[in-house]
């Protein structure tokens, strides 16, 4: 840097642009100290620093956090000494790739969580219904002893809530050691949130079975647990028998079908997202992206992908030699692993 003024000395060399002399550095790359991720806090911190640099110095600032090398096809003309025209590939920086991918992964994670929650609700509903069904005799006896339907209803609801509470506490207790084994450090606040959520989930799942339990009557004890299909004639094939059994417990059949449908839907969505990224996002696990390499996917509108410098140079009809322009490119270390 000490030698730079000697190169830019107009009394020493020809064709020295005065503007170039005033601002000889084209790019300054700045990295923020400390740990930076792609969370909102880190991105806001980066944005604030970039704004301060731009305001205090007047320099153009490109925020490069989350950028990713992207292959750019280049068609190079033939040379004059026999080199043929070549189709080449260069790595260009595509900005904001990691942020976009992390956002997409976050959305995918949210979708997964919702689907998992829905499936859990269906399973708990199914299990509660089965439990109520198997305890028909007990409920009928309680009804004979004078329990009102509201009391039976509360009985099932409270029982399910207790199950949910115990299960959530056990889950929270198991999360910490299991998480440490996997290298994860779950936020304790989120862990505590799961306790009331799980309890509420158990209560919601028990609403339907509890309503059926409240309608218990002593005669239920002598009725079969499943509907006896009224057949005009006995089934003569395995398929007919299977169909008849499917309709014996229509509620449970619907629950099973809904669980399967949600699972297939989740798998289809995940496959669609993976195809949309053309395999660039590999090994994502509930928000942890292990690759941010983005393939070149067509070109944006003309000029949009060119460096801002080129556009401005053309607009001002400036010569091609390096102008005295400065640019600060800000880059921060990603923490995607």
């Amino acid at each position: 840097m000490d030698a730079l003024p000697s190169f830019l000395d107009a009394s020493r060399f020809t064709n020295i642009d005065q503007a170039w002399t005033a601002a000889p550095i084209s790019v300054i790359r700045v990295r923020l100290a400390g740990e930076l991720g792609l969370d909102d806090t880190s991105r806001e911190r980066v944005r604030l620093v970039a704004e301060q640099i731009a305001t205090s110095t007047g320099l153009e600032v490109d925020i490069m956090v989350g950028s990713s090398p992207t292959p750019m096809p280049i068609a190079l003309d033939a040379g004059t000494h026999g080199r043929p025209a070549l189709a080449l590939t260069q790595s260009w920086a595509k900005k904001g790739v990691a942020v976009s991918i992390v956002n997409a992964v976050d959305r995918k994670s949210l979708l997964l969580f919702v689907l998992i929650l829905a499936v859990c609700t269906l399973f708990v509903t199914n299990a509660t219904a089965a439990a109520v069904q198997s305890r028909r005799l007990e409920l009928a006896v309680l009804s004979c002893l004078g329990w009102r339907p509201a009391a039976l209803y509360r009985h099932i609801i409270v029982e399910s809530a207790l199950y949910g509470l115990v299960a959530s506490l056990l889950g929270v207790a198991a999360t910490l050691p299991v998480g440490s084994l996997l290298g994860l450090r779950p936020d304790p606040r989120w862990l505590l949130v799961t306790v009331p959520v799980t309890t509420a989930l158990a209560v919601v799942a028990a609403l339907g079975p509890a309503r059926r339990a409240a309608r218990s009557d002593p005669a239920a004890a002598i009725r079969p647990s499943a509907l006896v299909p009224r057949r005009s004639r006995p089934p003569r094939s395995v398929a007919a028998l299977a169909l008849a059994n499917v309709t014996r417990l229509p509620g449970r059949t619907l629950l099973g079908a809904a669980s399967l449908a949600i699972g297939v839907c989740a798998l289809t969505l995940l496959a669609a997202i993976a195809v949309a990224f053309q395999g660039a996002v590999v090994g994502t696990l509930l928000g942890d992206a292990v690759s941010v390499q983005a393939p070149s996917r067509g070109l944006p509108r003309r000029g949009a992908h060119r460096p801002a410098r080129h556009r401005r140079r053309r607009r001002r009809r400036l010569p091609q030699h390096p102008r005295a322009r400065r640019r600060v490119r800000y880059a921060a270390r990603l923490r995607l692993a």
Binding site: A3, F7, S11, R12, F13, T14, N15, W20, S26, V27, R29, R31, D62, M64, V65, S68, P69, T70, M72, P73, I74, A75, L76, D77, G79, T80, H81, P84, L86, A87, L88, T89, Q90, S91, W92, A93, K94, K95, A98, V292, S296, G298, L299, R302, H305, R306, P307, A308, R309, H310, P319, Q320, H321, P322, R327, R329, A331, R333, L334, R335
Partner: protein, 169 residues
């Protein structure tokens, strides 16, 4: 938005480092001229970009008046006849009061620039800027791969060529 890896301004000096390091006298260590080159402009093609050619007055650029003793004037590099995609500006040392002693800089080599010794950043935050990456372009199809024998296309002595003369080895 995508950024051209060769966006940084490039200063290319004539002469090679090995010759400079072995220079025995001050005259050989003089910097009689250097060149500054512009960035490459691009035109969109079907699936990528094509560098836009630039008309460069090679005679004006290379007519520097650099003497090479008994050999006469310095020749224009053969590669300079290739298509140019960057503007070139030659900066010739202005003669001092004594024509025998040019007002040129004396170069003192202090080492070779090595991109691998720059502070390593995360690979995921790697920005393909030529300060951090040796200039080059990988073959994009089988024909190019065959023509380049599997290697990358590297810069040559054509300062206005597509690949810039990055300060990288």
């Amino acid at each position: 938005m995508r950024l051209d890896p060769s966006a940084a301004a490039i200063v290319a000096a004539r002469g090679d480092a090995a010759q400079l390091e072995n220079a025995g006298n001050l005259f050989d260590r003089q910097l009689p001229e250097f060149f500054s080159t512009g960035a490459v402009g691009y035109l969109p093609t079907g699936n990528g970009l094509a560098p836009r050619r630039v008309d460069v007055d090679r005679t004006a650029v290379w007519n520097s008046g650099v003497e090479r003793g008994a050999e006469g004037w310095a020749d224009m590099p053969e590669e300079a006849a290739d298509p140019m995609f960057r503007g070139i500006v030659g900066h010739r040392a202005i003669a001092g009061e004594n024509a025998q002693r040019r007002n040129a800089l004396l170069l003192s080599p202090v080492g070779r620039f090595d991109v691998t010794r720059l502070p390593a950043w995360s690979e995921l935050s790697a920005v393909p800027m030529e300060t951090y990456f040796a200039a080059g372009a990988a073959p994009g199809d089988e024909a190019a791969r065959t023509a380049l024998r599997g290697h990358d296309l590297l810069p040559n002595a054509n300062f206005g060529g597509f690949l810039g003369q990055a300060p990288a080895s």
